[in-house]
Every structure is written in C-alpha cells, then in structure tokens.
Symmetry: C2
Subunit: 497 residues, 2 copies
C-alpha cells in the first residue's frame, strides 16, 4: 500500500497525463493536422475530456483527500496541494453532469453561429444562441454560488477571488487618468510607422524570431516554436512548452511582439516546478499572473527603448534593405504608436484597457439584467464612441470580434488588464532590485531578469493567489499608480517633439 | 437506450479515440518533441495505454458482445465486426493483468540493456535480460494456447493463422531458388552505383520527396510527411495518416525508397473505410498485407524500369549537376544492385529474405529450446556465412542490429518476407487486369493502380485474413512462384551484360 499522499499524487499525475495528452491533440490540431481529420479529432478530444473528467470525479480521490485533510504530518507544500485539490474538486462538483453536457452542447452550437455571424457580418445571427448561453451562465453562477453580484461567480472561475468589488475600483480609478493621457498624446503630432509595413520575407522573419527566442532565454530543450493561425502557448509539462506564432509578410511588428508575448507565457511555464508535475503547486498562479508574464516581456521589456537598442540592430541584420534608413529612435517611436482603434488584439498599450473595460462593463450589465443580448451592438458602439472616440462601422469590427463569448467565457477579459497592471508593478520592483537591469537589456542579457522572475514568481506555482503574490513580491497590493507612472513617463516622452 | 450495435460501436470508437491519441503522442515524440520531455511523455503514454486497456476489458462491452452474438438482424459486415471484436477481446483476456505488467517491465529493462549492448557492441550485456524475455514469451505462448509448436502462438499474434506448418514450406521452397539466383547474379560483373553516393542537398531532397508523394497519390488533405530518425507510418484515422522520412545527404536512394515504402503503408491506411472508424473492419487486414502494400510500391513499382523512366527525369530536375552524366538505364541498374550484406534494413530485394529466414529459424529454435540465448551470436554468424557468405565482424552489425527482440517482438519478422511475396502475387494479378499498367507508370499516372488496390484490398479492411484475401484477389493461395518469376526476370535482365 502506498502512503495516502503518494497515492493522491499518482492519481493527480495520471489526470495530468490525460489533460496534457488532450493538449497535445489540440496543439497538433492548430499546427500540423490535415484538414480532413477535423471530425475525428473533435471526437478524440471529446473522449479524452470525458476520461479526464471521470478521473477527476472518482470517489477514490475524494476519500484520499478526506483522509489527507486530517493528516498532521504533511509538509506545508503538501498541505497546500491538498487544500487546492479540494477546492478544485468541490468547484467541479457544484455543476451537475447534465448541466455540463447542456453547456457543452450550447457552446458547440453557439460557436458555429458566431462563425456564421462573423462571416455574414450580422450580430442578429449570433443573438439567439448567445442569449441561451447567457442564461446558462447565470444558472452556472447559481450552481457555483456567490456573494453580492452574480458576475462574481464567473469572475472567480478565471481569477480566484476576483469580484466586482475588487475590479470596479481598479477600472474606475484608471479610466480617467488613462483617458487624459490618451487625449494628451492624441493632440501631439503623430509618429511615423510606415516602414513597419513593408514586405518582410517569411523565412527571414522566422529565423529572426527563433534567434530572438533563443537570446531571450527560451529553453529549446524544453519547448519549441511552430506556426499556427492564431498565436498561442500550451504546455505538456514544464519541460515541454510549445509556442506558436504567425507571420504577416506585410507587417514586421505583428510577428515580433506576438512572439515576445508568447515567450513571456512560455518562460513562465518553463519556470514552474517540474517536481510538482500534475499537482496544483506545479500550475500557474492565475490567468492574470500568466498574462503579467507575457505583458512584462512584450511591453515593459519588449517595447522599451533599452530593448530597441538591443533588438533593432538584430532586426536590421535580417532586413538590412528594409530598415536601412530607419534609426533606433524612429523604430522605438513607431512600435509605440498610440491610436484609438476598433480591434482589441491590435490595440496599443494605452487604448487596450478601454477594450477590456467596455467588455467588462457589458458582461456585468448582462449578468445583472440591466441590458439584454439584443442591446449589445448599440451599447458596444456607444461605448467605443464614448471611450475611444471611434465609430464602429459594423459588427465584425465591433461586438463580434472576439471568440470568447461563443466559447462561454464570461469574466475572462479583466484578466488581460489585470495582467498589464501586475506586469508594471512587478517590473517596477524588479527595476529597483536589479540595478543594472536597463543596461542588461541593452546588452541582450536577459538572464538576470528571468532569474528574478523565476525566484519571485515562477517557482511558487499556484502556492499564492494573485493578490498574495503581488504583496509578497512588491510589498503592496495591486496599485495602478505603477502602470500610470510607467505609461505617462514613456508616452509623454515619445510624444514630446 | 441506443440499440446494442450502436452502443457497441460507440464503445469501440471511444477506445479508438484513446488509442489514436496515444499514437499522436508517439508521433510527436518521434518528430517534434523536445529532449527534456522524454520522462513525462513516457508516463503520459503509459497512462493512456492503461486507460485504453481498461476500456477494452470493461465488462459492459462483454455483455454487449454476448448479446450481439445472438442477434440475427445484423448485416454481414456487422456480424464480422462482432466476431473479430470477440476474438480480440478473448485473446486479450488470456493474459492475466499481472503477467502483462511483468512483461511490460521486462521489456522496458530489456530495451535499455539492448541500447547499452549496442553502444558497447557486446551481446553479453543484453543476454540476461533477453533470456528473461524469452522465458516470458514462452509463458505468454502457454497463456495464449497453441497447437503443435509453441512458436505458433507468437506467430499468430502478428499474423493471424500463421504457423510453423505454413511458413516452413514457404521458406524451404524459396531458399534454394533464391540462393541460386543470388549466386548467378554474383558471378556477373557488378553494377556501378557510385553516383548515388554524392552530396544531395537536404532541402532539395525534401522537395523532391514531397512532389513524389503528391504525384504518387498521397492525399495531403488526409495526411502529411515529417522528418524522424527512423522512417515510419502511423495514423489517427484513415483521414489522418502521418508518414515520416529521413534524409541522408550522402545517399539519395536512402530517402527515396524509404519514402515510397512508407507511402505504400500510407496509401493503404488512407484507403481503409472511414465509416468503420474504430471497428475491426476499419483496420488493416494483417501485418503481412500491410507490408505487401509498402513493398509493392517500393519494389514492384518503385524499382521497375517503367518507374525509373517516370521518376529519373524528375529527380534530375532537382539534381541536374549530380545526375548530369547518368542515363536512366544506369540509374535503374544502380538502384537494383544485389550484394549480400550485414544489415537487413539496407539489403536488396533478393538477399533481404535471408535476413528474415535466419531470424525466423533462430526464433523457432529458441522457442523449442534447441538453442539458448547464449548461443545466439555463434548461430547468427554461422548462418550469415552459410546463407549470405558474409563474415559478421561484430554483434552490432550482427544479432544486435534490430530492436524487435528487446521490444518483446518474437514472430514478427516473417511478416516482412510474406509481405514481399504477397506484393509480387498481387502485382502480377494487377498487371494482368490493368493492361496499360506499365505505360501508366511510365507516364506517372498511378491512379489506376491505386484504384485497383482500393477496390481489391484497401476497402475490405480486416474483413478477410491474409490467405482469404490472397485467394480472392489472385485466385490462388500464396505462391512463391510469382515472386521468383518476377525476381528472375528482373535480375537476370539487369545482370546480363
């Protein structure tokens, strides 16, 4: 008989084996799978999901956890694993099997309607299935339970502990100063970025991205990069992390910063403790902390002037003709152009948050019944005019742009903004603790920063919540001043002639 | 309640989902997986294997099969599926779980010893673990049951119905005429094939192989080709077939015919009936029939003069300098050079069979205790001298060359030779039914031959045994005369100055 903790670990690791196998199938689907395989791959994925679900809800695991909950001989980390596993399993049990199936079917349908609605550029086509999904999400929230606001149950699914009471003040406090900064920047003469939109050869872009990843400390013995339609990061253990990128030959910045963004996610996964494979402490802390890692590398590092000093000569070596007449100063300005726009994924660092805030407020209103699904396009377009001053010409470039809702993901968007805010706060602390950080970035030496992230964030896995981690690392709770100070310093500098 | 046949099909398809997921993990392991992932991937594969095994031995499946066995309303194909599923499950049940685990551990160990023995070029290192494995295989044969010869139980695992009484006469009858042909050829002046061993650029070879696969009817909407250390074919359904190849820059023939060989396997998989996904009728008939498809394309098509007329100009377009002074006649002779050698996988069409015969006889003797594991090197080297006239310089190039034994595969090798013999017989029938076959091959039109194989072989899946299929397609049982006639005609032609 193995001791109960070993038995628990083995069970969790077997569940992880199936979940990660599922991830391999999904990775293959997005990278290499031939077209005709779509149907059978969908059923292979469905079967593995069911297998994983059955293993997770096995009563033998319950009994083990019950026994281990009383065990006084466990180490602190072991107790934490047990506590988190109990939380996960209890959360899962709140949803009846019949409801999970109903939701999963509604999502499959809704996704098809969303695809069709986008194609035909007509929200009306998506409306009915989205209404059904919103109703189901309300039911889900009731199953999960919540205090104060129904939306809290959904926010909590993506960011444990996140509530309207926590996020409202963050967005309320940042909205005004951010709007003022964007307006101030908008009054200045605009930066010239036309040279980013030349023809940039695919193969050269690929080689450039691979060298960048290598120099930026991605461990290719424990991961790789491939091409997919939409860039993403997945992993099958902390020793097998897969990044993907896409290459737009008409725009060098598209691939470059998406590649650095995914690198940030990938470095986090590679830094999670391998010995905790399959256990909660081997997992990432939260979605917002994951996003903080991608944003930190993409923006705080990747769009800084120090980084441009390192990277621009490298880029120039791959595209000497295209970049011949461009100076590093021009380059730095061009990749930090601020311009209110329609599409979230193409937005700059400043206007980005309004895309998230609009969705957050919209979802909150939907959940509290202060607007209905029918009202979405009008509400959406009104908010884009109000916050960003842009006219939304159609649904495709408006409320149909993101896949999230059709996947049943409500409460997800805030983690994007929280990620940026945490990133600024972490980077501020790192900068004060690593005196030579800027010089090291200029020199292309990223090891000290990575080591700092490993020690302060990555190695802890899911041991701390986002808030606990933030306090531990920076000495204070989430504070938007760090982001605003960073943003003001940077963009007023760029936009001062 | 679904009807029992639908319930049976769904269960089988779910098992297939897991088995094919496992195959995706293995494919990724051999093609793209980063080095550090080896450990976790091994456990992911082990867990999925266990999941599949548990599903296969689920008693609910037993009850369904029992019920369906009595069902008079099933179609002929449905009855065949039930019959084959019952056979498979009964075979599986003959081995106790504890024995399966014991075997699996012995194989893991044995494989490590084999790797080490090969590295150190010393059979002694492998000996003990191989002895253990041979003992276990004897136990396995006893669990499985057999008539007349213990080896029959093992042969039957790879080729249903194969017995010593069936294979002995095949090998006995072919040995003498084949030896005479090889000797006769050996007396003639040898062909010049030095131009096959120039430097052939990797990328050019890759492009050439992709064009070849496309023109030879591989459906890239339902499959792909990648690079791996050892070429193989796997599939995740008949609509997702993965070939791999390897490229040796010092030898163009290495990649070319290995690529065509895998193509033959791949075309077979793509031709299996998609509607029988997960069911026995959706599977290949047997290993020897699978091999007949790869050999038919590799040898009967791919090493023919007609094929050279088609392919050599294409090859020349990729390597104009390297092939500048080579005529299609010289090329044809060079790729059909006969030369007794040490390594099975590098052997020509004629001497190949002796490599198989030696292993077959050796395994038979091991199983009947007429030699022991300790005797293997001496026996091996003696037989190579006797049959092929070559001196085996060391174990690495002798009895340690193949991985099969360390994987616990005893009884596998005969399927290689049977495959060649079936290929010759099938190709003979195809040639008499497709009057324009040679002209079509010259013209690079492979659709008629593929259509013939689809109709006569592929579409039937596992409906017929190798022997039944052979009779159906060619009107007679396996007959070595077809191979010998083909071999004599071809090689005496080449070796007549």
């Amino acid at each position: 008989m193995p001791n109960p903790y070993d038995a628990y670990r083995e069970k969790l690791q077997q569940i992880a084996d199936v979940r990660y196998s599922l991830a391999v199938l999904q990775w293959d689907q997005e990278t290499y799978m031939p077209a005709k395989s779509a149907g059978t791959r969908a059923r292979q994925i469905a079967t593995l999901s069911e297998v994983a679900h059955n293993m997770q809800t096995d009563s033998a695991l319950d009994s083990l956890l019950e026994k281990l909950q009383e065990d006084k001989n466990l180490s602190e980390d072991e107790r934490k694993n047990i506590e988190l596993s109990l939380y996960d399993i209890n959360q899962q049990k709140k949803l009846p099997g019949s409801f999970v199936r109903q939701m999963s079917e509604a999502i499959s349908q809704s996704y098809q309607f969303w695809l069709d609605a986008r194609k035909q550029n007509k929200f009306g086509i998506f409306e009915e299935s989205l209404s059904k999904l919103v109703d189901l999400k309300k039911q889900e929230a009731n199953y999960l339970g919540y205090e104060n606001h129904l939306y809290n149950a959904l926010l909590n699914q993506y960011e444990r502990g996140a509530t309207v009471a926590m996020i409202d003040p963050v967005f309320n406090n940042i909205r005004q100063p951010l709007k003022e900064l964007i307006d101030e920047v908008g009054k200045k003469s605009q930066v010239d970025d036309h040279f980013l939109q030349q023809h940039f050869d695919k193969n050269q872009q690929w080689k450039f991205s691979m060298q960048l990843l290598k120099e930026m400390q991605f461990d290719f013995e424990a991961g790789r990069q491939d091409i997919s339609e939409h860039p993403f990061t997945t992993n099958f253990s902390s020793e097998d992390v897969r990044l993907t990128t896409r290459i737009d030959e008409k725009d060098i910045s598209n691939m470059t910063w998406s590649c650095i963004h995914e690198l940030g996610h990938g470095l986090y996964e590679q830094g999670l403790p391998a010995k905790e494979y399959g256990l909660p402490l081997g997992e990432y802390a939260s979605l917002s902390i994951h996003e903080s890692q991608s944003r930190l590398w993409e923006n705080n590092v990747g769009r800084s002037f120090s980084f441009c000093k390192y990277m621009f000569p490298l880029l120039k070596s791959y595209f000497p003709t295209e970049m011949q007449k461009v100076s590093v100063e021009q380059f730095y300005r061009s990749i930090n152009k601020v311009q209110p726009s329609l599409i979230r994924t193409e937005a700059d660092e400043l206007t980005y948050h309004f895309h998230v805030i609009i969705r957050y407020e919209l979802e909150k209103k939907l959940m509290e019944n202060s607007i209905t699904v029918k009202d979405i396009p009008a509400y959406w377009n009104g908010q884009y005019k109000k916050y960003l001053g842009v006219d939304v010409p159609d649904d495709k470039r408006g409320c149909l742009q993101d896949v999230h809702w059709s996947h049943g993901s409500f409460g997800y968007f805030p983690t994007y903004s929280l990620g940026s805010l945490y990133a600024a706060q972490f980077f501020n602390t790192a900068s004060s603790q690593l005196k030579e950080l800027q010089n090291e970035i200029v020199a292309g030496n990223f090891a000290p920063l990575l080591q700092w992230l490993r020690t302060n964030i990555h190695q802890h896995g899911r041991k701390f919540t986002s808030e606990q981690l933030c306090e531990r690392v920076t000495g204070e709770p989430l504070n938007i001043d760090h982001f605003m100070k960073y943003a003001r310093g940077k963009y007023l500098g760029i936009y001062t002639p």
